[in-house]
Symmetry: none
Subunit: 224 residues, 4 copies
DNA sequence: CATGAATGAGATTTCATTCAT
DNA sequence: CATGAATGAAATCTCATTCAT
């Protein structure tokens, strides 16, 4: 009888275990994203998902385990979209540009990701480390970067001595900080960092910084 | 003649309000940094600081107000050390380099700052916005960057069309992400990002990225 | 097959929400009546009602809200028993006599009412004013008095110029003070005002005062 | 140096034990009157009186003892003003009228008295009973009433069989209820009972009720 | 006489979790 | 599979009172 209605309001029982499970996960993601791990409330998750609180424990065992399930789902989405393997064949500059842009875009499109990454680091990454599913997602990422770097360096367009890890951290960090700390920064700098124009501008800037660094002569490293 | 003993164990009452207040703030900083706002426990702060729990409420009024006091203290420290005004007189490249380095160094030296910034953004910056003391600290920062940029651009060493806000976000972000997300990144990338060598290398990299971007021709922005 | 045992000792959980709610309300009434609002203790209410303390918050939200619920229950009982509408048809003297007696009797039968009225006035009636349910109970009362007064005055038995509000206040006040201040008055006047004989005597006295006033010539108002 | 300033704001230390003691009592009266015994806060009394909290304990020993001191002060004032002995010589009607009026007037002039009487009865009169000073104040009251009654009855103007205790309770109760329950009654009856006109009207009404009863034929007691 | 600092016990309220059906 | 009722432990906060000077 129950009609599935999209939205966030509470709904009636479905007698459909898959749907219940999914709705719990959905609500939990919202809750953990909004309030962090300690700040999240199981009661609110139950209300939001429209299921009985006990079902949450039935399916997930504990608040912590539920958080971990949410975390895994979010990270899976991140790496799925980055799909870096496709980039390996591209011309190096184009490949890097695409990697920078897709990283930036995914961060922008999934603010939940940013917040959960912050939350997880507040908790010293201990839940991430418990996960079996997340780490494998990262296996190919550095390889992709390394391949693009090597190809770019072999033709002399990219500066030598660029570390793939550092480059990855820079690509992510240039987008991440801007987004993760948007609330404090907007206030402190008197700019609305969430404004569409600002975001677009930032995207271009990040690309320029990464490519400017890679393409620039290494003189920059010399004493100013 | 109670001897002041350094460390974290509880101590006896001091009958010295300044000292009590300071010890509470100290313990609170540790607690909020370790567990976030929701995860922090007033009991632990009382134990850690060696004062009666009530004294915390006597001096600070509430857990939230105590958090705000900690936040203000931390931010004051950040901007105090950045002391950007001194940099305005330097040659532009040198000025930027110093700004990058001091930002990086302060972040590294004050891991508490990074964590509290994360915590605060998880809470949408609402406590920061309540503070009267923090925002003024940021008033001169963008001016400094703008001055250095202008001077560098007027002699043609810096690329044109660089936005001071974007530059500041990049300088900070390149250091911040690496530090704030150290726990998850170390695990996912199979590198110990906290290792001294890694940190030093990162410092140099960040300088190179920023200067590489500023000094590089703007061709980088062109299609790959 | 848990057997319901009457009394005030704690009982096991009933898994019957109506019963739990009722037991909480019951215990709360006793507690607020005995100690006032500030003096009441949620812990005692929990013990007395035999439920977990949290259940009180689950059902009522806060100590204050629980107090309001108790207050509403008590007032509802008062006006229900007064059932003044029935009196409108009676001969005026008989109607007033019955009103006086039923008011007196209900006050005597429900000492909790008197105490809660005192408690509420100590708190400036602020909870009463928050209630949506109480005020409507009083809508017909003054009408009833007015009707009886008019009819008695038209035949000349009741003195003219009697204000219904004043009459109601006198009817209530003559009974109320005797009961509400019983403890101090018994001590100060060296009489046991709670004694059955005294109460019966007082009941008769109150009727006589009210009717004596209404039936007497208005000469009494003249300078002695 | 310290200048004595009238008012309720906190003042500096006076090094004047009598003044300090008086100021504490003053503030305590306000506090107990406003919030009752359980609701009163020692901290507020200290602030209000402008003395160190410890001094309160120095002079009065405990919150309870301070409350008792306030209570005694208030009751002393009541009986002092009633000065019923003066009334014994008056013509009976005049004597009763004066007693009614002075009781009413003192209640109106000293709202604190009404509230403390309520507070004390909420606490079952247990503090009053501990007082040595209060009870003696009431010794002559019933005698006065009895004398006036006897004289009025001997000349036939007053009805026979009037109990002095009942009469006293009626005189007080007719004024007390109107004042003590002003907050709830004003709300429930949709009348501002605190309005000057209302109070004046009530005063006259109370006199009329008492004298109407005393002067009326005892037929009123007969079945209506 | 007087004070500012500090305390301990206990108050209200919260919250993850389990019970009984 | 699913639920509404209930719980225990612990959280934040309050308040009368005492300490040390």
């Amino acid at each position: 009888m129950a009609v599935e209605v999209a939205g966030t309001a509470a709904r009636k029982a479905t007698r459909n275990p898959e749907a219940s499970r999914a709705r719990i996960l959905d609500a939990a993601r919202q809750e953990f994203v909004s309030y962090g791990l300690s700040g999240a409330r199981v009661d609110r998750i139950a209300n939001l998902s429209g299921v009985n609180k006990n079902l949450i424990y039935h399916y997930f065992g504990s608040k912590d385990a539920l958080y971990l399930a949410v975390l895994e789902g979010i990270y899976a989405g991140l790496r799925e979209r980055q799909r870096d393997e496709d980039l390996r064949e591209l011309p190096p500059v184009e490949g890097i540009r695409r990697l920078v842009e897709s990283t930036f875009d995914h961060f922008v499109a999934t603010p939940e990701l940013i917040r959960l990454m912050s939350v997880e680091n507040i908790h010293f990454g201990e839940y991430l480390k418990r996960s079996r599913s997340i780490k494998p997602l990262y296996s190919g990422l550095l390889d992709t970067i390394e391949i693009l770097l090597k190809r770019g360096q072999s033709t002399g367009i990219f500066r030598p001595d660029v570390d793939a890890v550092d480059l990855y951290l820079s690509i992510s960090g240039l987008a991440y900080f801007f987004l993760s700390n948007q609330h404090t920064l907007s206030w402190l700098l008197d700019r609305d960092l969430a404004a569409r124009r600002r975001v677009n501008k930032r995207r271009q800037h990040v690309v320029e910084v990464v490519l400017g660094y890679l393409l620039g002569s290494s003189l920059a490293g010399a004493k100013g």
